[in-house]
Symmetry: C2
Subunit: 122 residues, 2 copies
């Protein structure tokens, strides 16, 4: 190993707050909807239980990544979840690091299989 390669695969940018399967789903869902998603839609899109989604949203809200707005629609309570501007920036920074993992692995895989089709679609 060359000296300048120390920490080459440490991926320090993979922020643990966002690097959790369910949270990745929640944040990606919210990134697709600038105007937010209801709690029910988010739950279904991510295949989460009420309890699980509540728990993750609470952590993300505490860190300022999401905004939770409670209101009434036709006399029924509704919870709207939105990505904050800070949350969007932080998630995009995380995604850049995630993309680096995919690219590093893709290059490695291509190198090891020269002149053959890479297995994954990068």
């Amino acid at each position: 190993m060359k000296q300048n390669e120390k920490g080459r695969f440490a991926y320090d940018g993979l922020d643990r707050l966002m690097h959790e399967k369910a949270r990745l789903g929640i944040l990606t869902s919210l990134l697709t909807q600038r105007n937010g998603l209801t709690f029910v839609d988010l739950k279904n899109l991510c295949n989460l239980t009420d309890g699980n989604l509540s728990r993750h949203l609470k952590s993300l809200e505490e860190e300022g990544l999401v905004d939770i707005q409670k209101s009434f629609t036709n006399n029924r309570p509704q919870t709207l979840c939105l990505l904050t501007e800070g949350g969007r920036k932080r998630f995009i920074a995380y995604l850049q690091e995630l993309e680096r993992v995919v690219q590093d692995a893709s290059i490695a895989e291509k190198r090891s299989k020269k002149n053959t089709k890479p297995i994954f679609n990068a």
Copy 2:
């Protein structure tokens, strides 16, 4: 939300065994080196402590993803770590799902910023 979008962002393929920051580094490092990496090189590439690396390698070995070979080189003990063929396949399947997260997020980000340069490099 459309009915057919249920679970659209569940990302079930993000296998928890590999979806851990340090393990992503270990597996990507090993993917770059078909002939394996020594424990010391792997530790430095991933910026891990001896204890942390040992613990993760043990879990990955137990699941058949990595192969650990102990030998002596110039009378000094050496540990060589390799990705198994099964491990390579499983990691590549995981990476395909990871790429799906990056692509979903990239599309969402581009849509929300039409006619402007996307922030991350997808």
